[in-house]
């Protein structure tokens, strides 16, 4: 009989701090903040209750950012204390986030759930991520995946915060959205995606623990970053044939303004970042043969340079954006106060966060690996997360079909969002089949979990950025 347990070993005895009491306090505070907010008046524009709800959501966003920082310190130093603090911060953020959402819900007299437009959807998906992550932390006792999961919640809250003020108001939803199914359909999507994100987090930890060379992970990530940059630069290339001259307009533009205003030099920095990410990936794969092994040594420096260029571009864009205002005459034409396409911004920031994590991982892989539970457990947790995600994804598709059958007159329309949700489902169905029947596990399964999350990301953000269809409620235009 092995001594294996599903939960990781208990914390070392020297840290005898009442963590559980603090977690309970956070939950109680959440309830109290909800009750206080619900008791406020909802008269007036904006009402006291509305302000309270928005305040709670902003506070939650900042607390998640703090939690991400703490998890990063944990990643870099392997300190249990910091992961404990990160965990507590996530729980406190979740308590405030829940309170904010509930108070917002009461604003519509509970008739309209707080997830009916892009702003609300971002806030809700961030909530789902935090909630599912806290659940997994509680079930597994492991806090290392936070560094890979929480930044996604931070990103979504950040994007929501950047939305134009009119989209933060309680939306007047179109008749097609006035259905009880919106509550259940979006909730299934939210939790399923969050579960796949957690599966991704554990899969990365598994790969680290299993001793996959961090140079390899770095190369794969570089390729992903380069492809992402290329994918949204591609629009300008193919449509205008003005690559790389038009490159600066990808960010800080543009599309919604009648006269696009490129951000000076930001585009050039992004172009350099794209080329360097590509180079970093290329050097690794070119150096695979014994004869050219030295090439691989240049991979990480190229990646670091790409990251710096990426950072510089983001700073320039941010500075530019800070001085750009929404079009006052046509408030419905811009979604972000930064006149940037929300999804381009999301991808740019997401790839940046990923690069930051990749650098940390490359630098501290050994240290991180030391503090992780055994590889088999991480593999099992990743699998468990998929086992939760796939049935919920099925329910997401089915409830969506039932709703569509009532609203659109057909249960399946091959709308791009619908189709990509099906693609996501097929990918995770493949994961389950390879695992249960073909006996895959470990690295192969982790690879699918990582790639699968890329598909999830495209389904949630990419579809609305690149494709159009019936699910246009989440579109910036």
């Amino acid at each position: 009989m092995s001594e294996a347990t599903l939960t990781a070993s208990p914390p070392r005895p020297e840290i005898q701090f009442p963590w559980k009491i603090l977690s309970a306090l956070a939950a109680v505070a959440g309830i109290a903040l909800t009750a206080y907010g619900a008791a406020l008046s909802k008269e007036g524009v904006p009402s006291a209750r509305f302000e309270w709800s928005s305040g709670l959501l902003s506070a939650a966003a900042f607390i998640y950012l703090g939690a991400f920082a703490l998890y990063l310190v944990h990643l870099a130093r392997g300190s249990d204390l910091f992961s404990r603090l990160g965990s507590l911060a996530t729980q406190a953020g979740l308590a405030l986030h829940t309170a904010g959402l509930l108070v917002r819900w009461t604003l519509s007299g509970l008739s309209q759930p707080p997830w009916t437009n892009l702003y609300e959807s971002l806030v809700y998906f961030a909530w789902g991520i935090a909630a599912v992550y806290v659940f997994f932390e509680w079930r597994t006792g492991n806090r290392a995946a936070g560094a890979f999961v929480i930044p996604t919640a931070v990103l979504m809250m950040g994007l929501a915060a950047l939305s134009a003020s009119h989209s933060k108001e309680i939306p007047q939803i179109m008749p097609a959205l006035q259905s009880g199914w919106i509550k259940i359909h979006v909730t299934f999507a939210c939790i399923a995606y969050a579960a796949f994100l957690v599966a991704f987090g554990f899969a990365i930890l598994y790969l680290v623990k299993d001793g996959v060379r961090s140079a390899f992970l770095l190369a794969v990530y570089s390729a992903f970053a380069a492809v992402t940059f290329l994918s949204y630069g591609l629009g300008d290339v193919l449509l205008h044939a003005e690559f790389p001259l038009k490159w600066p307009t990808i960010i800080g533009t543009g599309e919604l303004l009648s006269a696009p205003k490129p951000v000076p030099y930001a585009g050039q920095f992004f172009l350099v970042a794209f080329l360097l990410y590509g180079t970093a990936a290329g050097l690794y794969f070119a150096g695979k043969s014994e004869a050219r092994k030295r090439l691989q040594d240049f991979g990480p420096p190229a990646f670091l340079a790409a990251f710096l260029a990426h950072t510089a571009g983001m700073i320039l864009a941010a500075r530019h954006a800070a001085t750009t205002h929404p079009i006052p005459m046509r408030p419905e034409m811009t979604l972000l106060q930064w006149d940037v396409n929300a999804y381009v911004l999301a991808l740019t920031v997401l790839v940046w966060m990923g690069s930051l994590l990749t650098i940390l991982l490359d630098w501290r892989a050994a240290k991180l690996s030391e503090g992780l539970p055994r590889a088999k457990l991480l593999d099992e947790w990743s699998y468990r997360a998929v086992l939760i995600g796939l049935p919920l994804m099925t329910l997401n598709l089915i409830t969506g079909a039932i709703w569509a059958n009532n609203a659109w007159g057909s249960y399946w329309s091959w709308d791009p969002k619908e189709t990509w949700a099906l693609i996501t489902w097929l990918v995770y169905a493949a994961y389950i089949h390879t695992r249960i029947v073909a006996g895959w596990s470990g690295r192969k399964s982790a690879a699918i979990a990582v790639a699968g999350f890329g598909v999830v990301l495209f389904t949630y953000l990419g579809v609305n950025l690149f494709l159009s269809g019936l699910h246009s409620y989440g579109s910036p235009q």
Binding site: P175, L395, A430
Partner: protein, 504 residues
């Protein structure tokens, strides 16, 4: 299959069945290969991507017309034939779907004996090796005062109420066999997928979803139009369809949201509502309000609130007062429909209607009609003013009833209301497969719950005079079961402090 020795057949015909059987076996081997199943899953995912990148003409006549306009009829037709413009209904996409379903069916048949065997296998009397596996342990019990019921209570706390399967003089076996239905989970999922597909086929061949009809308020219709595609020239092709009953639109209503800040009406619709009555065999079979998310279902047909049309010629209700008297009479007219009033040679005609008349300096003045006076031959009547011929035209406002009195004409007009009739736009579908699809979906979800969240666990505790032995087998979620077993061992050793574990 081989031929019987009594009836020797010519060599050629004897070989053929054998070769066929070999071929069949090989084909079966391929079909039941799980790797092939995964390949279909991923191929389907890949092919699905194509249809999300190339704008599809599924349900969008405009898109196909756009292609025809841009590529010309020949090339649009070629792309259409290749299935690129309607990937999800192309022969190759459907072929992959069919192949995947075939794989699912073949695998299900192929594995049935094994899985059914595992499902129904019951081992109340365990073979000895069950107590020697990785999930087993043996104890010597030094105390003689333990009773079987104590073990039973402890065992059932962890593994459910046991079956006391083997009571001899010297030994008893507590046995639990839990979660065997998880073995059937995969069948529920796969049968669910096949059922859903069957429902889709049913709907495809014996149903339609793109029927359309517009019905004016107060009138009824017993026929609809089904959009069947677009011709190579880009014309919309339709076919008529007779309903076995008639639908009457009693009332249509569209409401708009108020701006929360100013309280003014916005152009964002908040509600579409049609009151429909089904006229079946000459009697009113059903009257019901429908909304966007709440269609009407009758006789296998479903009517969805899809759009609406405003009538071009509204009914104008005027109140006319003869100047200098209190005599007032109502007058109902239509736009461009002349009418004559007693004592006047000229005729009047309502020329236009504004729902919200706006004058730049004066602001918004509400509903108004413009009235023109005409001669008997229909030409505009004019009046000479400062040497110029000026047409006799004037405005009548609904919100300012005394405005027209200032004109000092022979009659004073007041605008009571302008009534527009709506036509409700209904989408009509008839899909006999939809309940089959829901049944398949329910089977899938139920099957996944069985397959993913249960595990088949068999546990035995053998108690003899000398001691006890535990054995367990589990086929998935091993870690969770291991935890449970470990906790059971701990509890057993706590409850029976005399128990001594023996390394196996």
């Amino acid at each position: 299959m081989t031929s019987t020795p009594e009836t020797p057949a010519p060599a050629a015909t004897r070989e053929t069945p054998a070769a066929l059987a070999r071929l069949g076996d090989a084909l079966w081997q391929i079909l039941t290969n799980v790797k092939l199943g995964v390949f279909w899953l991923l191929l389907l995912a890949t092919l699905s991507i194509i249809g999300t990148i190339i704008p599809q003409t599924t349900g969008s006549i405009e898109t196909l017309q756009g292609y025809v306009a841009r590529l010309g009829p020949e090339r649009a037709d070629l792309y259409n034939r290749l299935g690129l413009l309607d990937v999800y209904h192309s022969w190759w996409f459907l072929a992959v779907l069919v192949l995947m379903c075939t794989s699912i069916a073949a695998v299900s048949i192929d594995r049935w004996p094994r899985i059914h065997g595992e499902f129904s296998s019951d081992e109340p009397v365990p073979p000895p090796q069950r107590f020697g596996g990785p999930l087993s342990k043996k104890w010597t019990l030094l105390s003689a005062h333990t009773r079987l019921s104590d073990f039973q209570a402890l065992f059932s706390r962890f593994f459910g109420a046991p079956q006391i399967s083997h009571v001899g003089e010297k030994e008893a076996v507590l046995y639990s066999n839990r979660g065997r239905w998880t073995r059937m989970g995969v069948y529920f999922v796969h049968v669910g997928i096949l059922t859903t597909s069957a429902g889709a086929v049913l709907g495809k061949f014996w149903g339609f979803t793109n029927g359309q009809t517009y019905i004016r308020e107060g009138s009824s219709s017993d026929s609809i139009v089904i959009l069947s595609g677009v011709s190579p020239q880009g014309e919309v092709l339709t076919r008529p369809h007779e309903l076995p009953f008639a639908v009457r639109c009693d009332d249509f209503e569209v409401q708009f949201y108020d701006d929360p800040k100013t309280g003014e009406k916005t152009r964002n619709p908040s509600l579409f509502r049609s009151r429909l009555t089904i006229l079946d065999g000459g009697r009113e079979a059903m009257t019901r309000d429908i909304f966007v998310n709440d269609p009407l279902r009758y006789g296998g047909y479903t009517f969805y609130q899809a759009s609406y049309d405003e009538e071009q010629e509204p009914l104008v209700r005027l109140a006319v007062q003869t100047a200098g008297t209190d005599e007032r009479f109502p007058l109902i007219t239509k736009i461009n429909e002349p009418f004559q009033l007693a004592g006047e040679k000229l005729r009047y005609v309502v020329r236009g209607y504004e729902e919200n008349f706006e004058i730049p300096e004066a602001g918004v003045l509400g509903p108004a009609v413009g009235i023109e006076m005409i001669q008997e031959d229909g030409t505009p009547a004019t009046v000479k003013e400062e040497g110029k011929e000026r047409p006799l035209r004037f405005l009548v406002f609904q919100d300012y009833p005394d405005f027209d009195a200032r004109r000092e004409g022979r009659h004073i007009f007041r605008l009571e209301s302008v009534e527009k009739k709506f036509s409700t736009g209904l989408q009509v579908a008839k899909d006999p497969g939809v309940w089959v699809v829901w049944t398949g979906s329910a089977l899938m979800v139920f099957g996944m719950a069985l397959a993913f969240f249960l595990s088949h666990q068999k546990s035995w505790l053998k108690i003899t005079a000398e001691g006890a032995a535990f054995g367990g087998v589990v086929h998935k979620h091993r870690l969770a079961y291991e935890n449970k077993v470990a906790a059971f061992f701990e509890a057993l050793e706590k409850e029976f402090p005399a128990a001594r574990g023996i390394e196996t």
